[in-house]
């Protein structure tokens, strides 16, 4: 998917702005003709957790002084309900009714892209800085370092999956915005911002909780922490050279994990959590209190209550599984994500942003209600590392796979639901293929990244 868009990427700044504005205009055109596209009902785009139509229903329930969670329609956050809810009811004369909400999505997408760009700039600077400090400045002369931040922002803006999500009338763009915001805050090492993004993102969709590890690493180590061994190696080699002072500087900079921003981060996390919980509590005081909210939002996500088909793999599995094994498998599937957190964190601790990408990709694979918006997010994060992943294998194969699956999935759904000539297995097959491609993507990108690190180590060793 992303590759398709990358060809649109410009080198020069005017080009970037031209294409960014073009993407916004394209979205505006699309949100004006939603009837023909009918994306809001596609299972690939809106999930029970993110659908704005459900949010409108929940808001309508609160208007008639009922709990928004009555009738298992709405499963999102009460805060989102009170912010976006009025927009779903408000109608500009002569315009489609969902225009305001869609505008929010467009704005959220644009801000996300800008934040990705800022993050990318920071990351690329750190990368170049590190190469220079390791004495690999020559690498710039013979190979070109692409402006990966522009590429990533344009990948996010022009990725068909992002566009579909943005037009598809759901809350994913807003959730993605907060995830990116927390990463950005951590990258520029502003603890309150990072904490705010992290708390809100976790509050909205639960899974970004695990981003706490990359965020802490970012805050503690900075965007691109070089493994200490490299410096030591370099220092040994260059012991007599003039650049010694700089290396020592680098080392001292590198030496300790700075706990101050991390501590600040935790303080702010506490404050923001308390704040949002109080707000939720006020909202929910007439509808069964805050425990009801936890039950209907996180409980709904964790116990996989809605088994309507989506592009993930869990719905099919839990539709088949015997009732008395259900709890066991629920635990197995959720622990699956948790198991991967620690090993990945250890292996990729020097690249926290990349770690965040891997976490997001894994979550979107194992989530109960995934949508294409999740992949839109991690593909943009992946594009931040375009320079590092230059020698990634299977890129063409993955591209073909993503294109094929995203075209085949609606066809299979149609065959099953509307024509009646297929069955659930048809659709589930595309879900499995999608999961497989995601796995290959993660495996290949991680191995490419590690290879790149190895290469740098080798270079440092030889110079």
């Amino acid at each position: 998917m992303k590759e398709e868009e990358e060809k649109k990427n410009m080198k020069t700044k005017p080009h970037f702005w031209r294409w960014a504005v073009a993407s916004v205009i394209f979205r505006l055109v699309l949100i004006y003709f939603p009837k023909n596209l009918n994306l809001a009902t596609r299972p690939e785009v809106s999930t029970p957790v993110t659908s704005l139509r459900r949010l409108a229903e929940g808001y309508w329930l609160t208007q008639s002084s009922m709990s928004p969670y009555a009738g298992s329609m709405y499963h999102g956050s009460p805060l989102l309900l009170s912010v976006l809810g009025p927009l779903t009811m408000k109608k500009i004369e002569g315009q489609p009714y969902h225009l305001l909400c869609s505008l929010v999505s467009v704005i959220a997408d644009f801000i996300s892209a800008m934040l990705i760009r800022a993050t990318g700039l920071k990351l690329r600077m750190a990368y170049c800085e590190r190469l220079k400090s390791l004495g690999l400045g020559k690498l710039f002369e013979i190979s070109e370092i692409l402006p990966s931040e522009d590429i990533a922002a344009l990948v996010y803006l022009w990725n068909p999956l992002t566009i579909v999500t943005c037009v598809g009338f759901n809350t994913t763009p807003v959730e993605n915005l907060f995830i990116i915001l927390s990463l950005y805050g951590a990258c520029i090492r502003v603890a309150p911002l990072a904490a705010f993004g992290w708390v809100v993102a976790s509050h909205l969709s639960l899974y970004p909780t695990i981003l706490i590890i990359p965020v802490i690493l970012l805050l503690g180590n900075g965007p691109d922490a070089t493994p200490r061994k490299l410096f030591l190696m370099y220092k040994k080699d260059e012991a007599d050279n003039s650049s010694k002072g700089r290396v020592v500087n680098g080392l001292s900079e590198q030496k300790n994990f700075s706990w101050r921003p991390v501590g600040l981060f935790f303080v702010w996390v506490f404050i923001w959590t308390l704040y949002s919980l109080v707000l939720c509590g006020i909202f929910m005081r007439n509808y069964g209190g805050i425990s009801e909210m936890f039950n209907r939002t996180y409980g709904f996500i964790l116990t996989v209550k809605d088994l309507s088909p989506n592009i993930g793999v869990l719905w099919y599995f839990f539709a088949e599984v015997f009732e008395f094994f259900r709890d066991f498998f629920l635990i197995v599937f959720h622990v699956n994500i948790l198991f991967m957190i620690l090993p990945l964190a250890i292996r990729l601790k020097h690249r926290p942003c990349f770690l965040a990408f891997v976490y997001m990709a894994i979550c979107s694979m194992l989530k109960p209600y995934p949508s294409v918006g999740d992949s839109a997010l991690y593909l943009a994060l992946l594009a931040l590392f375009f320079n590092e992943l230059a020698e990634m294998q299977f890129s063409f194969f993955l591209f073909c796979g993503f294109v094929g699956v995203s075209l085949l999935s609606p066809v299979m759904h149609n065959l099953w639901i509307w024509r009646g000539t297929g069955n659930a297995n048809f659709y589930f097959a595309t879900g499995m293929a999608y999961a497989c491609f995601q796995i290959i993507l993660v495996v290949e990108s991680v191995s490419a990244m590690l290879n790149h690190d190895r290469k740098i180590r080798k270079l440092v060793g030889t110079t």
């Binding site: 590759e3 398709e4 990358e6 060809k7 649109k8 990427n9 410009m10 080198k11 080009h15 023909n36 596209l37 009918n38 690999l136 020559k138 690498l139 002369e141 013979i142 190979s143 070109e144 370092i145 692409l146 320079n387 230059a390 020698e391 990634m392 294998q393 299977f394 890129s395 063409f396 194969f397 591209f399 073909c400 294109v403 094929g404 075209l407 085949l408 609606p410 066809v411 299979m412 149609n414 065959l415 509307w418 024509r419 009646g420 000539t421 290469k455 270079l459 030889t462 110079t463």
Partner: protein, 707 residues
């Protein structure tokens, strides 16, 4: 494709599966030729591999009860037919319509009746129709049309049913001028209806839809079904149907729309004037719905079984007439026949021989079946039902007795009536909707079919070389480029640091080209829509303006998107780029064909027959010209001929020429054909514009690639 990762020579021994993949890729030429040949051969084998049909749903029990339709019902129906025939349309049309006559008879029999007024709707192209549910909220704008159609719908409530299921009988007739055949089909339905109002075994409601076909049979049935499933409302929230004032008859008409639960099956009954020669009456079956969908095979089986065994009719499905006396098919049939005899003489157990006539008939039917499914245009009003997941079939009784109906009136009504009664009785037994038998099949005769498991094989064989050749070209070019890359990188002697090279992303250039061309395909798809909005001109001018506009857009897109940016300015390896381009083209063609095979298999099969050889063969002419050998000359000639043949208009005219003779084909015909495809929302149209045409353009591009 998964093996396209360059096997690094350093690795001593990759795993066996990877070695197998590498072996296939390195011998991709031989393998692809073998696969294509095998695919075409397997396609020709299909009539031999066809199996006899069987009724797989036990509940159907066709023919287990003796027919109850008596001469009494039939003579009553005869009187009804006489009334319809003698109905004076000229004088009576203002006071009492023929609909009232039908309605009166239904009420007299004790059924409920209800009229459905509809406005004929022009078929509109909706490119996303395939992905949406049928007819969601189509706004009815066309109020200017003066003449309504009025369907008459009769209901029998089943004494043993709960009113949740129904069987539909459809008899299309022209309310302005009813022909003898239409009157007879009304008569058959009437005789059934009069019987079914009395029987006790009925468990599903019966709906008799006397569809007013003055605006076309399909439109009438489609309008009624749309109202049945998705009632449309006007601005004030009232149903459009109800808001219509009752027609100008003095009598009060029941005005609310009656319904009877989900439909288990629908039968469209037609009577036509058959040829005098046939010694028996013929029952023609039409089953193809939109986009190559078929009703469940069990429905065809039941009708076929009852018609052959119960009523002694000859059942026919459509055949491609021109194939019946083609010499090559005959010689092929003889060859297969000889092979079969030889095989049987070797081992009596090998019983795959097939007689020459049978093979020819089978392939003619198969070709027609493939063609009709590939067109994606329904062959009759039964097609609408499939859009609502109702299995339906058109039974056209082609009777030699229609002409001399006056002499022996009862026979036809009795025969047709008993057949329909038997089918209804079978469907009445069903506990669930049809699901046991096949939905995806091709017919080679009314009682022989090729199921999806068999007919996928030729397609799979045809398409299998595509990913392989794509992978082989891809690895080839990356290897060559990387070879060059290292050379270039090592040339600046200043360092021995290997540069960061975007070697594995090099295909992005080719992908960009392919993307632009496919995007252009989407534009081409939408152009006829605008053309039809703008003007009302002859097909020829439309076709020409379409072609010119398409070429123009291609140039513009090339100018805007093609040149303005390029991602990786690195040492271009001139001359290698075309292999990457071809590889990406082939991958795109493969994806397109595979997706199309899920949407409409027949289109994909016919498309693969054309696309696969072209995509595999294509190679820059300059390279061949430089080589100056006989082989390269032949290859270049083949390429040019293939490219010429596969261009959609040329392919269409050739096909047309094969069917009716080239002298009858006019230039504008292609436009008419395309227009019929897109007004019927056929996926074939989208396939043609968004897969076939872009691949053709890309192949031309590769062919003309400067080397």
């Amino acid at each position: 494709m998964e093996t396209m990762a360059d096997a690094e020579p350093a690795k001593a021994k990759p795993r066996p599966i990877i070695r197998l993949g590498l072996f296939l890729i390195s011998h991709s030429f031989i393998v692809s030729v073998a696969c294509c040949a095998a695919g075409i051969f397997a396609l020709l084998l299909l009539p031999i591999l066809a199996k006899n049909t069987y009724i797989s749903e036990n509940a159907l029990m066709p023919g287990s009860a003796s027919p109850m339709l008596s001469n009494d019902d039939v003579s009553r129906a005869r009187m009804f037919v006489n009334k319809v025939v003698s109905f004076d349309f000229k004088t009576d049309s203002s006071s009492i319509g023929i609909q009232d006559l039908v309605a009166q008879h239904i009420t007299d029999l004790g059924g409920e009746v209800n009229f459905h007024r509809f406005l004929p709707q022009v078929n509109k192209f909706n490119p996303l129709h395939f992905f949406s549910s049928p007819d969601q909220g189509i706004a009815q704008e066309n109020y200017t049309c003066s003449s309504y159609g009025i369907n008459t719908v009769g209901f029998i409530r089943a004494p043993r049913g709960d009113g949740k299921e129904a069987i539909v009988l459809v008899t299309p007739y022209n309310s302005v001028k009813t022909s003898m055949g239409e009157a007879l089909s009304l008569g058959i339905a009437y005789s059934i209806f009069s019987l079914l109002t009395r029987v006790t075994w009925l468990a599903k409601d019966i709906i008799w839809l006397a569809a007013d076909s003055q605006h076309g049979e399909y439109a009438a049935v489609a309008a009624w079904l749309r109202e049945y499933h998705t009632p449309s409302f006007d601005g004030s929230g009232r149903s459009l149907f109800e808001s219509n004032a009752s027609p100008t008859t003095g009598r009060k008409r029941p005005n609310d729309f009656l319904r009877a639960g989900t439909m288990a099956a629908a039968l469209v009954i037609k009577v036509t004037d058959g040829s005098e020669k046939a010694e028996r009456d013929v029952l023609n079956l039409y089953a193809e719905a939109s986009n190559g969908q078929m009703p469940n095979l069990d429905l065809i089986n039941v009708v076929n079984y009852l018609a052959v065994n119960g009523q002694r009719l000859r059942v026919k499905v459509e055949k491609l007439g021109s194939l019946l006396d083609s010499w090559w098919l005959r010689s092929l049939a003889e060859l297969f026949h000889k092979l079969g005899t030889v095989a049987r003489s070797l081992n009596p157990q090998w019983n795959f021989g097939i007689s020459v006539a049978e093979y020819i008939e089978g392939s003619a039917t198969l070709a027609s079946s493939l063609y009709n499914q590939a067109l994606g245009v329904p062959t009759g009003p039964h097609g609408v039902f499939r859009d609502y997941q109702v299995d339906s079939i058109t039974m056209e009784i082609s009777a030699k007795r229609v002409a001399n109906y006056k002499n022996r009136p009862n026979e036809l009504l009795l025969q047709g009536g008993r057949l329909v009664e038997g089918v209804i009785r079978s469907v009445n037994n069903l506990l669930e909707k049809f699901h046991q038998s096949f939905f995806l099949y091709l017919l080679t005769s009314p009682n022989k079919f090729v199921s999806v498991g068999v007919y996928m094989i030729p397609f799979a064989l045809l398409v299998a070389p595509l990913p392989m050749v794509a992978a082989s070209l891809f690895t080839d070019s990356t290897r060559r480029i990387s070879g060059m890359g290292t050379k270039v990188a090592s040339s600046p002697a200043s360092s021995d640091i290997p540069a960061i090279s975007f070697r594995s992303w090099r295909w992005l250039h080719a992908a960009k080209t392919v993307f632009i061309v496919h995007f252009w395909g989407a534009v081409v798809t939408l152009l006829p829509h605008f053309l039809s909005l703008v003007q009302d001109s002859s097909p020829l001018t439309n076709l020409l303006s379409w072609i010119i506009l398409s070429a123009f857009t291609l140039l513009i897109l090339q100018a805007i998107l093609g040149s303005s940016f390029s991602l990786l300015h690195m040492n271009r390896t001139q001359g290698m780029e075309w292999t990457l381009l071809k590889s990406v083209t082939i991958a795109a063609a493969c994806t397109g064909l595979c997706i199309m095979s899920v949407i409409n298999f027949a289109t994909a099969e016919l498309g693969a027959l054309m696309l696969v050889p072209m995509c595999l063969m294509t190679r820059p002419l300059m390279l061949d010209a430089k080589a100056k050998t006989l082989k390269s000359f032949i290859r270049a000639a083949c390429n040019v001929v293939l490219i010429f043949l596969v261009f959609p208009p040329v392919a269409y005219y050739l096909w047309k020429g094969a069917l009716v003779g080239l002298e009858n084909a006019r230039v504008g015909d292609f436009w008419n054909w395309v227009e019929s495809l897109w007004t019927w929302n056929s996926a074939t149209y989208i396939y043609m514009c968004m897969v076939h045409l872009p691949c053709w353009v890309l192949c031309v591009h590769t062919l003309l690639y400067p080397c």
